[in-house]
Symmetry: C2
Subunit: 199 residues, 2 copies
């Protein structure tokens, strides 16, 4: 599922559900997140703030993890993926922008989503679907480079995309989001050119 | 800190602490993990089983996450890192063996450690130290390849090691541990040879 397919599915379920009530709940949930942070976030607090019944929220989002993921997804900007005509530059910008974006509150929210997914099956499934969509989006960066003849046509673009996303997750989950341009460039160089001595 | 330095530190703190009592607690904790799983694991249950006071355990391990990490570390075999003389083969074996190892109970334990680290500062710090040690160990695989002239001497070995570990974490945290030899080989090929068309 691509990112826009994920959106589409979310909207279409939302439409069946009652889009205004759903957006009101997401707004309330977002406000609570900003005020109290992801750790303190609970369905109870969201219900109070949105003046909605807890059963209503649970019907739409079975767990706090799934609700947090939808808020995270709704906030996420589309500017992470660049298209500069150079894969190394695109990869450098991708890793810089994603880690920079996570330094704000969004990183805190996403960390909690990943943590919840380790004990909440519904959240795990939603996260897996979401991550697969993001992977396809990031893989497009590599597909464009194949089309330009910049990288080998037998590149596994999804795997390359996953390795980049995985590095970003690893930095987030070990609280090491600071990255300078040189390090981001080294990431890109090692991913694109590899490690092998040219022969 | 290397893996053996981490061991050393654990042992030396243990010696100051009372090594027998410490090992008895780790044994009890391990038994509970095997019987009930990581999700149900609590300091209370460990104290009961080890016939130790909760304050004793808390003095040595401030949180359940830090205790889980020590059990995980104590169990982990040294066979993950191969030295075949070919970096691509070493990387293939590393990713295969680590994911295979995690398919047993160890993966469940490590997932919970990573989840706990997102809300428990002591666990986060212990995990960061542990991961840095493992990274240095994995980087040795790349250092050997540099010494053999197989890869470029300006390779950032720690970064290459981190990208591998990050991929493994990502698979674990999204519950996608199954990997076949072809995919493991593709990982190794893309890491070592890169994506660029040779020119």
């Amino acid at each position: 599922m691509t990112d826009s397919e994920y959106d589409e599915r979310r909207r279409s379920i939302g439409a069946r559900r009652n889009p205004e009530a759903q957006e009101a709940i997401l707004d309330a949930a977002e406000a609570i997140l900003i005020e109290d942070g992801a750790a303190a976030f609970s369905i109870e607090a969201v219900a109070r703030r949105a003046r909605a019944g807890k059963p209503t929220i649970y019907r739409w989002w079975p767990t706090r993890g799934t609700l947090l993921l939808d808020i995270y997804h709704r906030q996420k900007p589309a500017v992470i993926h660049a298209d500069t005509g150079s894969l190394e530059e695109d990869v450098t910008l991708f890793i810089e922008r994603l880690l920079e974006y996570w330094k704000g509150g969004a990183g805190q929210v996403f960390r909690v989503v990943v943590a919840e997914a380790q004990r909440d099956v519904a959240c795990a499934e939603a996260l897996r679907t979401y991550a697969a969509g993001r992977r396809r989006q990031t893989a497009a960066m590599f597909e464009r480079a194949i089309a330009r003849g910049e990288i080998s046509p037998d590149t596994d673009s999804l795997l390359a995309a996953e390795m980049l996303a995985a590095l970003a997750w690893h930095r987030l989950l070990t609280d090491r989001l600071a990255i300078d341009r040189n390090e981001a460039k080294t990431v890109a160089r090692q991913v694109v050119r590899g490690l092998k001595v040219s022969d």
